[in-house]
């Protein structure tokens, strides 16, 4: 059975480097609620591929710069 994948993200850091962009700003630009951005940032929700690309587009970076993955136990 394949190991579980843990997805981490750099959204907090990217927001900081985007002139301390607020969660509300990011939510508006990505077309989701602030609650969803809070959940993604805290690692409580893994977004769909579509939303992940939209978030990456907001920061103007590649999707791999926003999200990273590792196998559980690594």
């Amino acid at each position: 059975m394949p190991k579980k994948i843990v997805i981490t993200n750099n959204i907090r850091r990217l927001r900081f480097f985007a002139n301390e962009m607020t969660q509300q700003d990011l939510a508006e630009r990505a077309g989701v609620s602030r609650q969803t951005i809070i959940a993604i940032e805290a690692g409580k929700y893994s977004p769909s591929l579509e939303l992940a690309f939209r978030i990456a587009d907001v920061f103007g970076v590649a999707i791999g710069d926003v999200f990273a993955h590792q196998q559980e136990g690594e």
């Binding site: 077309g31 989701v32 969803t36 977004p47």
Partner: protein, 198 residues
């Protein structure tokens, strides 16, 4: 009664904002909306129980009078739907007022136009239903449906054990209502603890 519950919740929320001025950790719009739906559901079940079982205990309903129970349940289903629509409208209005008050508390100098713009922004980023809301709704629906299904089985078992059809009807009605309450509780759980796709 439902309106009073809503007003009480609004007062609580207003006090919460005042106690947490400048804090970012206030409950989200989705959580508040779910709590309001839950309160509405609880109020409808309580009202049904008081009315229907009250009349039954007072001896105003003949034993096995299925027409009374079916009619009462239909009326309370209607009341439940109407109440949730009305309460959601009131909740939206109160939320907008709450947002205006919050903006004013945070920035005493804010003009009416700034407050209006702030409300519009909040509506855009708070009240939008997105993929996470839909996932949570789907998962919660599954739990609610399971509860209603268990109620249906319990109703059939009650019939088999020799209980009357009135008992079965009540088990069905209360399990469907309970299932919808459970749905709300599960939604709150997922909003608090997070939700995974798998």
């Amino acid at each position: 009664m439902l309106f009073v519950l809503d007003i009480m919740y609004f007062l609580y929320y207003y006090k919460y904002i005042q106690d947490n001025k400048g804090s970012q950790s206030i409950m989200s719009y989705q959580e508040r909306r779910t709590i309001v739906s839950l309160l509405t559901g609880v109020a409808v079940i309580v009202a049904y129980s008081i009315y229907a079982f009250g009349r039954y205990q007072a001896g105003l309903v003949a034993a096995g009078d299925l027409k009374f129970w079916a009619g009462t349940m239909l009326i309370f289903v209607g009341i439940g739907i109407l109440a949730s629509i009305i309460i959601q409208i009131i909740f939206h209005i109160l939320t907008s007022i709450g947002m205006a008050v919050t903006t004013k508390i945070r920035d005493q100098q804010a003009s009416d136009k700034e407050i209006e713009a702030s409300i519009e922004r909040s509506i855009g980023s708070e009240m939008v239903e997105d993929e996470m809301d839909r996932l949570i709704e789907l998962k919660a629906n599954r739990v609610g449906f399971a509860a209603a299904g268990i109620g249906f089985i319990a109703g059939l078992v009650a019939l088999l054990l020799g209980y009357s059809a009135v008992i079965m009807l009540n088990i069905l009605f209360l399990s469907f209502s309970g299932g919808s309450l459970l749905e709300g509780i599960v939604q709150l759980y997922f909003y608090r603890r997070g939700v995974a796709h798998a």
